[in-house]
């Protein structure tokens, strides 16, 4: 009795989301599908980075490095499984299973990379941490460029195109659900406490280092998911995709949306992706626009569009919206 109830509650967003996404998928043109997949990947990146930069108040600018780890893991697995067709299983289902496995494996390796990076470096203060994460991002890139197994600088090509609109946005749902549930839990509050005052959080019994590492690991895992999804859209996995310029792009999305706001970073990531898609004609101006946006934003509205609030905080209080602290 209890177990099915739990499963239903736990999986509800996915169970509702999947049919909706599949229904939507059919009506999308190729162009829009690919734009929306890119947007979804960016939403995953921004929301997951927000767990570290927004909730916990640490400042990582090496998200693309973890993305790379996840992407290469997933790519290696789908490449290895190419042509694998077990008897009795429809090929589409087999492909899907392999892809799911590849994505999960990518999340695991990215999480491990996050653990490896986070453990030593999260003792550092804000701006030092920024540089160290950037440094790790570069080290990951240099290692990939020197590893024959990963195709060196040319990377891995000929990946199957597996990322559909539904796949990407199921990933988005997973990321947003993770972030919201974390934020609503005692663990999420401990992260916020670290952001607000690390000394006080520590004095109140929060293992600040441990929590920072955990936040980093979770965040990295979802960066890995984004990486896996992205390379199976562009069917190519090269170190150039994961330079620290990509990391900064994600930082801009998070900052624009508001550090600490899940809906903020999701909206910003979505909006920026669409806007940049529109600017494709004037590719050269794109990064200039990005940097100007960042500077102007910091000078005029450093809290971002949403601050730490969520989109529904502006809605009038509806009777069916229980206050979260009233629990179950």
């Amino acid at each position: 009795m209890r177990a099915p109830g739990l499963a239903l509650r736990s999986l509800l967003p996915f169970l509702l989301g999947l049919p909706a996404l599949l229904a939507l998928q059919g009506s999308l043109s190729d162009f829009w599908a690919s734009v929306l997949i890119t947007a979804g990947v960016n939403v995953i990146l921004a929301v997951s980075l927000n767990v570290v930069n927004g909730f916990t108040g640490q400042f990582s600018i090496g998200h693309a490095g973890f993305m790379a780890v996840g992407a290469y893991t997933a790519a290696k697995i789908t490449l290895a499984a190419a042509g694998w067709a077990p008897a009795g299983l429809p090929p589409r289902l087999a492909d899907g299973a392999v892809f799911l496995l590849a994505l999960l494996a990518g999340m695991v390796t990215a999480a491990l990379a996050g653990l490896l990076v986070g453990m030593p470096s999260l003792r550092l203060r804000g701006d030092y941490l920024a540089i160290v994460t950037l440094g790790f991002n570069e080290i990951i890139r240099v290692i990939i460029e020197n590893t024959a197994f990963l195709g060196r600088a040319t990377g891995l090509s000929g990946l199957p195109r597996r990322t559909t609109f539904a796949w990407a946005w199921m990933g988005v749902i997973a990321t947003v659900v993770m972030a919201r549930r974390l934020l609503g839990s005692t663990h999420g509050r401990a992260l916020l406490a670290i952001r607000e005052d690390e000394v006080a959080a520590e004095a109140m019994g929060v293992d600040t280092t441990g929590y920072k590492v955990k936040a980093f690991v979770v965040s990295s895992a979802f960066a890995g998911l984004a990486g896996g999804l992205l390379v199976h859209l562009i069917q190519l996995c090269t170190p150039r995709t994961f330079t620290f310029v990509k990391s900064i792009e994600v930082v801009v999305m998070v900052v624009l949306g508001g550090l600490g706001s899940v809906t903020g970073s999701a909206v910003a990531a979505f909006g920026l992706t669409l806007a940049l898609e529109g600017l494709r004609e004037v590719q050269e101006y794109r990064m200039v626009a990005y940097s100007l946006l960042l500077i102007v934003l910091m000078l005029t509205r450093p809290t971002g569009l949403f601050g730490t609030r969520e989109a529904w905080d502006w809605l009038p209080r509806l009777p069916w919206r229980r206050r979260p602290e009233e629990g179950a």
């Binding site: 701006d127 000078l299 450093p302």
Partner: protein, 309 residues
């Protein structure tokens, strides 16, 4: 042995460049507690302003000493002005805000310079500006003369580069430790608020620090562009990051530390790349950074300042 000496020469020549750039990071960090992310790009602007001045003077065709000096001074002026402008318009308004706000702005300024210089040209001048993403060739200021001392290659560029770099570092030492401005700078770095109460014009000191750091960056850029003449808008990225590592290694905020850090980093890179893993050259600096921050986060000459509770 010859190989060892050759690496020594190369390492020192890279190291002095890192040291010059690292000084800018360390001084700005000292007074503002801000990692001036755009510093590496000021270095890039130094190279390009030298390039444009040299072309305007026709220094590429008939190099003379006055022209070389004019290029030098002109580029220093441009960079100094740029540094002051960045401080005035991007960082000063944010000084009271959380440090991360300023750091994000610094990243923004850095990207603006990098990608601004890659924009398509207006075509107003003979030399297109902005230069665009394709590399340009810096005109040689004087003819290259190479000597071989027992197998070790050494050119007059190396000698000039050494001499100029050390000259400027010495000069900086004098400025920081022997002048009123230097004393004010050290006071602001120790406690900006109290320094302000003691009648020091903090804004002017901070602006002056940016100018000083930017001038040194342009010197570094010209020394590099003289001997390795390809320049492009992203050229500041890696040297900038590595110089930051050098500054941290020496103890950020510490002027002699940045010089030592730069030299050590240059040598370490050269030797590790030369003897062990040449293709990992770019990762060495970051590996060093991570080790330093873990083992001795205050750096070689830095002091720990515990947070007051």
């Amino acid at each position: 042995m010859t190989e060892f000496l050759q690496h020594l020469v190369n390492g020192l020549s890279v190291g002095t460049i890192y040291a010059l750039i690292a000084l800018g990071y360390t001084m700005v960090y000292g007074v503002l507690k801000l990692i001036n992310f755009a510093h590496g790009d000021v270095y890039m602007v130094g190279a390009f302003s030298g390039y444009y001045i040299a072309h305007a003077l026709g220094a590429g065709d008939r190099p003379t000493l006055p022209k070389a000096l004019a290029v030098f001074v002109g580029s220093m002026v441009v960079c100094g002005a740029l540094g002051a402008a960045i401080e005035r318009f991007a960082y000063r308004p944010l000084r009271a805000r959380p440090r991360l706000t300023a750091l994000i702005t610094a990243i923004g300024v850095s990207f603006l310079l990098e990608y601004g210089f890659q924009l398509p040209s207006f075509g107003l001048t003979t030399q297109p500006f902005p230069p665009g993403p394709t590399p340009r060739f810096f005109p040689q200021p004087f003819a290259r003369v190479s000597w071989s001392l027992g197998g070790v290659e050494l050119s007059n560029y190396d000698v000039v580069s050494f001499a100029v770099a050390f000259g400027f570092m010495l000069l900086l030492q004098l400025v920081v430790y022997r002048t009123r401005f230097g004393r004010a700078m050290r006071a602001v770095s120790f406690d900006a608020q109290v320094a302000g109460l003691m009648g020091i014009n903090v804004n002017r000191v901070i602006a002056g620090t940016f100018v000083l750091g930017s001038v040194l960056a342009s010197v570094a850029a010209l020394l590099v562009a003289g001997s390795r003449p390809t320049i492009n808008p992203l050229m500041g990225l890696m040297p900038g990051l590595k110089a930051f590592v050098a500054a941290v290694f020496g103890g950020i905020g510490n002027v002699p530390g940045a010089m030592v850090g730069g030299l050590v980093l240059g040598l370490a890179e050269e030797y590790v790349a030369g003897y062990l893993l040449s293709s990992y050259r770019d990762a060495i600096a970051f590996a060093i950074l991570i080790v330093v921050l873990l083992v001795r986060p205050e750096g070689l000459f830095g002091r720990v300042r515990a947070e007051k509770v």
